[in-house]
């Protein structure tokens, strides 16, 4: 799992690369919680290089969403591959998260 964070005007873009499962999600969680300590107004997570995500990944993003809401910030998920988008749909979380096609759309 590769995680890179880039500050942008009004927030932070985090790019994840690799599969998210029980093995890798704790590291994703820790890193995102660390970034949220800086209270970015907007956290944009680019998932276009994530070919697999299980419920431990979704649980991680639910936790981030709750944290972001407490901080009155925003979380946007970007570039979900079709199979992963389906998992969000199965979980009935597709409307709960702000899901955008591109980083540009998420910054708008």
């Amino acid at each position: 799992m590769d995680i890179t964070a880039t500050p942008v005007a009004g927030g932070m873009v985090v790019t994840l690369q690799g599969e998210i499962d029980l093995y890798s999600s704790p590291r994703v969680r820790e890193r995102l919680l660390g970034l949220l300590k800086e209270r970015p107004s907007r956290l944009i997570v680019d998932l276009s290089a994530v070919p697999y995500m299980d419920s431990s990944g979704i649980a991680t993003f639910v936790e981030m969403l709750q944290q972001v809401r407490k901080q009155q910030g925003a979380l946007r998920l970007v570039g979900l591959q079709a199979n992963i988008r389906e998992v969000f749909r199965f979980a009935r979380l597709e409307q709960v998260f702000a899901i955008c096609d591109t980083v540009d759309a998420a910054m708008a």
């Binding site: 599969e19 499962d21 029980l22 093995y23 697999y52 299980d54 419920s55 431990s56 979704i58 649980a59 991680t60 639910v62 936790e63 969403l65 709750q66 079709a82 199979n83 389906e86 998992v87 199965f90 979980a91 009935r92 709960v96």
Partner: protein
């Protein structure tokens, strides 16, 4: 070709999950599942293993046995562990409020055509999941 099965025995450790998924994926493609179905099946088996690691063994050491059976237009996955007993009643609905967790069992139910938990006389938990060809 007729039915055939493979057995994999691995430590209840998250680091092995990627290897198990890869094995399941190739078995699905061998059976003739489409790629989207293969993804779902991989997810369901992964979620079941994740639950054994986290809940049955409570992240302590233990062994998981997975049988993968192909043929006859279906795949059957049987997971065995020696962790604590578990009854799945009431775990197959999605959580009502937003919370981090509670999705694994509903996902398994949504993907698989049959899901069956039992406790063997020998003190093993047994989870049997069937996915048939030609279904989503």
């Amino acid at each position: 070709m007729g039915p055939s099965s493979l057995t994999v025995i691995f430590p209840a450790e998250a680091r092995w999950l990627a290897a198990i998924r890869a094995l399941v994926e190739q078995s699905c493609l061998l059976t003739g599942f489409a790629e989207e179905v293969t993804y779902r099946v991989k997810l369901a088996v992964d979620e079941a293993c994740t639950n054994i690691i986290r809940h049955s063994y409570s992240s302590r050491s233990g062994t998981i046995t997975l049988d993968v059976e192909v043929g006859n237009g279906a795949m059957t996955f049987t997971l065995r562990d020696r962790g604590k007993p578990f009854s799945p009643e009431g775990q197959s609905d999605l959580p009502r409020e937003l919370k981090p967790g509670g999705l694994g069992m509903p996902l398994i139910q949504q993907v698989m055509d049959e899901v069956e938990y039992s406790r063997t006389p020998g003190g093993e938990n047994l989870l049997r999941m069937v996915k048939r060809l030609g279904r989503n």
